[in-house]
Protein backbone atom coordinates (compact mmCIF):
# COMPACT_ATOMS: atom_id res chain seq x y z
CA UNK A 1 0.00 0.00 0.00
CA UNK A 2 1.37 3.39 -1.00
CA UNK A 3 2.05 6.15 1.47
CA UNK A 4 1.01 9.75 0.84
CA UNK A 5 4.66 10.57 0.54
CA UNK A 6 5.11 8.03 -2.24
CA UNK A 7 2.08 9.38 -4.04
CA UNK A 8 3.44 12.86 -3.71
CA UNK A 9 6.83 11.90 -5.10
CA UNK A 10 5.29 10.05 -7.98
CA UNK A 11 2.96 12.87 -8.94
CA UNK A 12 5.71 15.45 -8.65
CA UNK A 13 7.81 13.42 -11.05
CA UNK A 14 5.07 12.99 -13.61
CA UNK A 15 2.83 16.05 -13.44
CA UNK A 16 4.57 18.33 -15.90
CA UNK A 17 4.86 15.89 -18.71
CA UNK A 18 1.38 14.56 -18.02
CA UNK A 19 0.15 18.09 -18.45
CA UNK A 20 2.06 18.57 -21.70
CA UNK A 21 0.94 15.24 -23.10
CA UNK A 22 -2.66 16.02 -22.36
CA UNK A 23 -2.32 19.51 -23.76
CA UNK A 24 -1.12 18.05 -27.04
CA UNK A 25 -4.12 15.78 -27.12
CA UNK A 26 -6.85 18.27 -26.26
CA UNK A 27 -5.13 21.46 -27.46
CA UNK A 28 -6.36 23.47 -24.56
CA UNK A 29 -4.18 24.27 -21.58
CA UNK A 30 -7.10 24.94 -19.31
CA UNK A 31 -8.81 21.68 -20.15
CA UNK A 32 -5.53 19.83 -19.85
CA UNK A 33 -5.07 21.20 -16.37
CA UNK A 34 -8.53 20.05 -15.36
CA UNK A 35 -7.94 16.63 -16.78
CA UNK A 36 -4.64 16.17 -14.98
CA UNK A 37 -6.19 17.38 -11.73
CA UNK A 38 -9.00 14.87 -12.14
CA UNK A 39 -6.59 12.10 -12.93
CA UNK A 40 -4.48 12.82 -9.86
CA UNK A 41 -7.52 12.73 -7.63
CA UNK A 42 -8.75 9.53 -9.23
CA UNK A 43 -5.43 7.85 -8.71
CA UNK A 44 -5.48 8.89 -5.09
CA UNK A 45 -9.09 7.95 -4.52
CA UNK A 46 -9.29 4.64 -6.37
CA UNK A 47 -5.76 3.30 -6.30
CA UNK A 48 -4.13 5.00 -3.36
CA UNK A 49 -4.03 1.64 -1.67
CA UNK A 50 -2.08 0.01 -4.49
CA UNK A 51 1.67 -0.44 -4.35
CA UNK A 52 3.55 2.56 -5.63
CA UNK A 53 5.20 0.52 -8.39
CA UNK A 54 1.83 0.30 -10.15
CA UNK A 55 1.33 4.05 -10.25
CA UNK A 56 2.98 4.81 -13.59
CA UNK A 57 0.75 2.45 -15.53
CA UNK A 58 -2.38 3.22 -13.55
CA UNK A 59 -1.89 6.93 -13.90
CA UNK A 60 -1.37 6.77 -17.65
CA UNK A 61 -4.50 4.72 -18.01
CA UNK A 62 -6.53 7.07 -15.86
CA UNK A 63 -5.18 10.03 -17.81
CA UNK A 64 -6.25 8.53 -21.09
CA UNK A 65 -9.70 7.60 -19.86
CA UNK A 66 -10.22 11.04 -18.39
CA UNK A 67 -9.16 12.60 -21.67
CA UNK A 68 -11.66 10.49 -23.55
CA UNK A 69 -14.38 11.48 -21.11
CA UNK A 70 -13.52 15.06 -21.86
CA UNK A 71 -13.95 14.51 -25.56
CA UNK A 72 -17.26 12.80 -25.04
CA UNK A 73 -18.55 15.78 -23.18
CA UNK A 74 -17.64 18.05 -26.03
CA UNK A 75 -20.75 19.06 -27.87
CA UNK A 76 -19.49 20.19 -31.23
CA UNK A 77 -18.51 17.38 -33.56
CA UNK A 78 -17.65 18.14 -37.10
CA UNK A 79 -18.84 15.46 -39.51
CA UNK A 80 -16.59 16.84 -42.15
CA UNK A 81 -13.48 16.03 -40.20
CA UNK A 82 -14.82 12.57 -39.37
CA UNK A 83 -15.37 11.92 -43.04
CA UNK A 84 -12.00 13.26 -43.95
CA UNK A 85 -10.69 10.92 -41.33
CA UNK A 86 -8.42 8.82 -43.47
CA UNK A 87 -5.98 8.68 -40.66
CA UNK A 88 -5.49 4.99 -41.37
CA UNK A 89 -7.43 5.44 -38.20
CA UNK A 90 -9.02 2.65 -36.28
CA UNK A 91 -10.50 5.25 -34.18
CA UNK A 92 -14.04 6.50 -33.68
CA UNK A 93 -12.93 8.93 -31.04
CA UNK A 94 -10.48 10.78 -33.19
CA UNK A 95 -10.25 14.37 -32.23
CA UNK A 96 -11.14 17.21 -34.52
CA UNK A 97 -8.42 18.37 -36.82
CA UNK A 98 -8.66 21.37 -39.02
CA UNK A 99 -7.29 20.41 -42.42
CA UNK A 100 -7.04 24.06 -43.36
CA UNK A 101 -4.64 24.72 -40.57
CA UNK A 102 -1.33 26.01 -41.78
CA UNK A 103 1.88 26.23 -39.91
CA UNK A 104 4.09 29.24 -40.00
CA UNK A 105 7.61 28.18 -40.66
CA UNK A 106 10.18 30.71 -39.77
CA UNK A 107 12.57 31.40 -42.50
CA UNK A 108 16.01 31.60 -41.07
CA UNK A 109 18.55 32.97 -43.38
CA UNK A 110 21.23 33.04 -40.73
CA UNK A 111 22.62 30.21 -38.69
CA UNK A 112 20.38 30.07 -35.63
CA UNK A 113 21.76 30.11 -32.16
CA UNK A 114 21.51 26.90 -30.18
CA UNK A 115 18.64 28.12 -28.00
CA UNK A 116 16.65 29.49 -30.89
CA UNK A 117 17.17 26.34 -32.88
CA UNK A 118 16.06 24.30 -29.94
CA UNK A 119 12.86 26.24 -29.37
CA UNK A 120 12.08 26.15 -33.06
CA UNK A 121 12.63 22.43 -33.06
CA UNK A 122 10.39 21.96 -30.08
CA UNK A 123 7.67 24.05 -31.64
CA UNK A 124 7.78 22.00 -34.79
CA UNK A 125 7.78 18.71 -32.95
CA UNK A 126 4.86 19.85 -30.83
CA UNK A 127 2.89 20.86 -33.87
CA UNK A 128 3.68 17.62 -35.62
CA UNK A 129 2.69 15.66 -32.54
CA UNK A 130 -0.64 17.38 -32.33
CA UNK A 131 -1.32 16.55 -35.93
CA UNK A 132 -0.89 12.85 -35.33
CA UNK A 133 -3.95 10.63 -35.20
CA UNK A 134 -4.99 9.82 -31.66
CA UNK A 135 -3.80 6.24 -31.51
CA UNK A 136 -0.44 7.01 -33.04
CA UNK A 137 0.18 9.83 -30.64
CA UNK A 138 -0.85 7.70 -27.69
CA UNK A 139 1.47 4.90 -28.71
CA UNK A 140 4.36 7.26 -29.30
CA UNK A 141 3.93 9.02 -25.97
CA UNK A 142 3.62 5.83 -23.98
CA UNK A 143 6.48 3.97 -25.66
CA UNK A 144 9.04 6.71 -26.14
CA UNK A 145 8.16 9.42 -23.70
CA UNK A 146 6.84 7.38 -20.79
CA UNK A 147 9.22 4.56 -21.74
CA UNK A 148 6.74 1.78 -21.19
CA UNK A 149 7.32 -1.54 -22.85
CA UNK A 150 5.10 -2.93 -25.56
CA UNK A 151 2.99 -5.06 -23.23
CA UNK A 152 2.31 -2.20 -20.83
CA UNK A 153 1.47 0.14 -23.67
CA UNK A 154 -0.90 -2.42 -25.14
CA UNK A 155 -2.62 -2.84 -21.78
CA UNK A 156 -3.13 0.89 -21.38
CA UNK A 157 -4.30 1.45 -24.93
CA UNK A 158 -6.52 -1.59 -24.89
CA UNK A 159 -5.09 -3.10 -28.05
CA UNK A 160 -2.71 -5.83 -29.16
CA UNK A 161 1.07 -5.77 -29.05
CA UNK A 162 1.13 -5.79 -32.82
CA UNK A 163 -1.10 -2.74 -32.99
CA UNK A 164 1.18 -0.89 -30.63
CA UNK A 165 4.19 -1.54 -32.82
CA UNK A 166 2.31 -0.48 -35.91
CA UNK A 167 1.04 2.70 -34.32
CA UNK A 168 4.50 3.54 -33.04
CA UNK A 169 6.14 2.96 -36.35
CA UNK A 170 3.56 5.02 -38.17
CA UNK A 171 3.84 7.77 -35.61
CA UNK A 172 7.57 8.09 -35.99
CA UNK A 173 7.34 8.05 -39.75
CA UNK A 174 4.59 10.63 -39.72
CA UNK A 175 6.49 12.87 -37.33
CA UNK A 176 9.65 12.61 -39.35
CA UNK A 177 7.80 13.37 -42.53
CA UNK A 178 6.07 16.34 -41.00
CA UNK A 179 9.26 17.73 -39.56
CA UNK A 180 11.02 17.40 -42.87
CA UNK A 181 8.12 19.13 -44.52
CA UNK A 182 8.38 21.97 -42.06
CA UNK A 183 11.98 22.36 -42.88
CA UNK A 184 13.48 20.90 -39.78
CA UNK A 185 16.17 19.37 -41.90
CA UNK A 186 17.34 22.89 -42.66
CA UNK A 187 18.35 23.22 -39.05
CA UNK A 188 20.47 20.18 -39.55
CA UNK A 189 19.55 18.68 -36.21
CA UNK A 190 17.46 15.88 -37.49
CA UNK A 191 19.82 14.29 -39.92
CA UNK A 192 22.80 15.02 -37.80
CA UNK A 193 21.32 12.82 -35.15
CA UNK A 194 20.72 10.05 -37.60
CA UNK A 195 24.27 10.12 -38.85
CA UNK A 196 25.72 9.46 -35.44
CA UNK A 197 27.20 6.00 -35.31
Amino acid sequence: MATPRELSDFLASVERRAFKQTAYAVRDDHAALDIVQDAMMKLSEKYGNHPEAEFPMLFQRILQNTTRDFWRRQKVRNLWTSLLSSFGGNDPDNEDRDPLETIDVEDDADEPSAALARSQTIALIETALQKLPLRQREAFVLRYWEEMDVAETAAIMGCSDGSVKTHCSRAVHALAKELKKQGLDKLGLFEAKLEKP
Binding site: F19, M40, K193
Partner: protein, 148 residues
Protein backbone atom coordinates in the same frame (compact mmCIF):
# COMPACT_ATOMS: atom_id res chain seq x y z
CA UNK B 1 25.76 1.01 -37.56
CA UNK B 2 25.21 1.53 -41.28
CA UNK B 3 25.92 4.81 -42.97
CA UNK B 4 23.50 7.60 -43.67
CA UNK B 5 22.99 6.53 -47.27
CA UNK B 6 21.96 3.06 -46.34
CA UNK B 7 19.62 4.12 -43.57
CA UNK B 8 17.33 6.25 -45.60
CA UNK B 9 16.07 6.39 -49.09
CA UNK B 10 15.83 10.05 -49.62
CA UNK B 11 14.03 11.63 -52.47
CA UNK B 12 12.97 15.21 -52.66
CA UNK B 13 9.58 14.65 -51.19
CA UNK B 14 10.00 11.82 -48.79
CA UNK B 15 12.07 10.94 -45.84
CA UNK B 16 11.73 7.22 -45.52
CA UNK B 17 13.26 5.56 -42.52
CA UNK B 18 14.04 1.99 -43.32
CA UNK B 19 16.09 0.91 -40.38
CA UNK B 20 14.39 -0.06 -37.12
CA UNK B 21 17.25 1.20 -35.02
CA UNK B 22 17.13 4.53 -36.77
CA UNK B 23 13.44 4.76 -36.14
CA UNK B 24 14.05 4.17 -32.48
CA UNK B 25 16.79 6.74 -32.33
CA UNK B 26 14.71 9.38 -34.01
CA UNK B 27 11.81 8.71 -31.68
CA UNK B 28 13.94 8.82 -28.58
CA UNK B 29 15.52 12.04 -29.67
CA UNK B 30 12.14 13.64 -30.14
CA UNK B 31 10.87 12.30 -26.86
CA UNK B 32 13.93 13.65 -25.13
CA UNK B 33 13.31 17.12 -26.50
CA UNK B 34 9.66 16.97 -25.58
CA UNK B 35 10.46 15.87 -22.06
CA UNK B 36 13.02 18.56 -21.67
CA UNK B 37 10.53 21.12 -22.79
CA UNK B 38 7.94 19.80 -20.40
CA UNK B 39 10.24 20.34 -17.45
CA UNK B 40 10.34 24.03 -18.21
CA UNK B 41 6.72 24.76 -17.56
CA UNK B 42 5.61 28.29 -16.77
CA UNK B 43 5.63 29.00 -13.01
CA UNK B 44 1.91 29.65 -13.09
CA UNK B 45 1.10 26.26 -14.53
CA UNK B 46 3.67 24.56 -12.35
CA UNK B 47 2.02 26.03 -9.30
CA UNK B 48 -1.43 24.88 -10.31
CA UNK B 49 -0.14 21.39 -10.91
CA UNK B 50 1.48 21.44 -7.52
CA UNK B 51 -1.78 22.44 -5.89
CA UNK B 52 -3.61 19.65 -7.66
CA UNK B 53 -0.96 17.23 -6.49
CA UNK B 54 -1.24 18.41 -2.91
CA UNK B 55 -5.00 18.02 -2.97
CA UNK B 56 -4.70 14.47 -4.18
CA UNK B 57 -2.08 13.64 -1.59
CA UNK B 58 -4.05 15.17 1.27
CA UNK B 59 -7.07 13.22 0.16
CA UNK B 60 -5.13 9.99 0.40
CA UNK B 61 -3.70 10.93 3.76
CA UNK B 62 -7.15 11.62 5.10
CA UNK B 63 -8.55 8.42 3.71
CA UNK B 64 -5.83 6.35 5.25
CA UNK B 65 -6.23 8.10 8.56
CA UNK B 66 -9.94 7.39 8.49
CA UNK B 67 -9.42 3.76 7.69
CA UNK B 68 -7.13 3.40 10.65
CA UNK B 69 -9.74 5.00 12.81
CA UNK B 70 -12.64 2.83 11.80
CA UNK B 71 -10.62 -0.34 11.99
CA UNK B 72 -11.43 -0.32 15.65
CA UNK B 73 -14.40 -2.34 16.90
CA UNK B 74 -17.84 -0.80 16.86
CA UNK B 75 -21.12 -1.77 18.36
CA UNK B 76 -23.08 -0.69 15.34
CA UNK B 77 -21.01 -2.46 12.72
CA UNK B 78 -19.17 -0.92 9.79
CA UNK B 79 -22.08 -1.16 7.36
CA UNK B 80 -24.09 1.48 9.06
CA UNK B 81 -21.08 3.73 9.23
CA UNK B 82 -21.35 4.14 5.48
CA UNK B 83 -24.53 6.06 5.96
CA UNK B 84 -23.23 8.65 8.29
CA UNK B 85 -22.61 8.84 11.94
CA UNK B 86 -25.06 11.60 12.76
CA UNK B 87 -28.27 9.71 12.57
CA UNK B 88 -29.79 7.35 15.01
CA UNK B 89 -30.01 3.66 14.30
CA UNK B 90 -33.54 3.85 12.94
CA UNK B 91 -32.58 6.49 10.46
CA UNK B 92 -29.56 4.56 9.36
CA UNK B 93 -31.52 1.50 8.47
CA UNK B 94 -34.19 3.52 6.74
CA UNK B 95 -31.72 5.41 4.59
CA UNK B 96 -29.75 2.27 3.83
CA UNK B 97 -32.93 0.56 2.65
CA UNK B 98 -33.83 3.58 0.58
CA UNK B 99 -30.46 3.70 -1.15
CA UNK B 100 -30.67 0.03 -1.99
CA UNK B 101 -34.21 0.41 -3.28
CA UNK B 102 -33.21 3.26 -5.55
CA UNK B 103 -30.28 1.28 -6.91
CA UNK B 104 -32.50 -1.72 -7.58
CA UNK B 105 -35.06 0.36 -9.39
CA UNK B 106 -32.40 2.06 -11.45
CA UNK B 107 -30.95 -1.27 -12.40
CA UNK B 108 -34.34 -2.63 -13.43
CA UNK B 109 -35.05 0.51 -15.42
CA UNK B 110 -31.81 0.11 -17.30
CA UNK B 111 -32.61 -3.51 -18.04
CA UNK B 112 -36.02 -2.49 -19.39
CA UNK B 113 -34.48 0.18 -21.53
CA UNK B 114 -31.91 -2.18 -22.96
CA UNK B 115 -34.53 -4.79 -23.73
CA UNK B 116 -36.78 -2.37 -25.53
CA UNK B 117 -33.83 -1.30 -27.61
CA UNK B 118 -33.21 -4.85 -28.68
CA UNK B 119 -36.75 -5.07 -30.02
CA UNK B 120 -36.03 -2.20 -32.36
CA UNK B 121 -34.14 -2.67 -35.54
CA UNK B 122 -30.41 -2.52 -35.39
CA UNK B 123 -28.21 -0.12 -37.26
CA UNK B 124 -28.07 -2.66 -40.08
CA UNK B 125 -31.27 -1.27 -41.53
CA UNK B 126 -29.95 2.22 -41.33
CA UNK B 127 -26.79 1.21 -43.14
CA UNK B 128 -28.75 -0.69 -45.79
CA UNK B 129 -31.18 2.13 -46.51
CA UNK B 130 -31.35 4.24 -49.65
CA UNK B 131 -29.28 7.00 -48.11
CA UNK B 132 -25.78 6.54 -46.70
CA UNK B 133 -25.34 7.10 -42.95
CA UNK B 134 -23.55 10.40 -43.56
CA UNK B 135 -26.78 11.73 -45.02
CA UNK B 136 -28.63 11.13 -41.79
CA UNK B 137 -25.85 12.42 -39.63
CA UNK B 138 -25.08 15.56 -41.58
CA UNK B 139 -26.53 18.52 -39.74
CA UNK B 140 -25.72 20.71 -42.68
CA UNK B 141 -27.93 18.63 -44.94
CA UNK B 142 -30.76 18.93 -42.48
CA UNK B 143 -30.34 22.68 -42.32
CA UNK B 144 -30.05 22.95 -46.08
CA UNK B 145 -33.29 21.01 -46.56
CA UNK B 146 -35.16 23.67 -44.62
CA UNK B 147 -34.49 26.20 -47.33
CA UNK B 148 -34.53 23.91 -50.36
Amino acid sequence: MTTHKQDMTHDNNNLFITDKAVEQQVAQHMAHLLNDNARRLSPDLAQQLQRARENAVNHLAQKQAQMQHSAGASRNGSVLRWFGSHFGQQHRIASAALVILVMLLTFLAIQQYEQSHHLEDSDAFLLASELPPEAYADKGFDAWLDTH
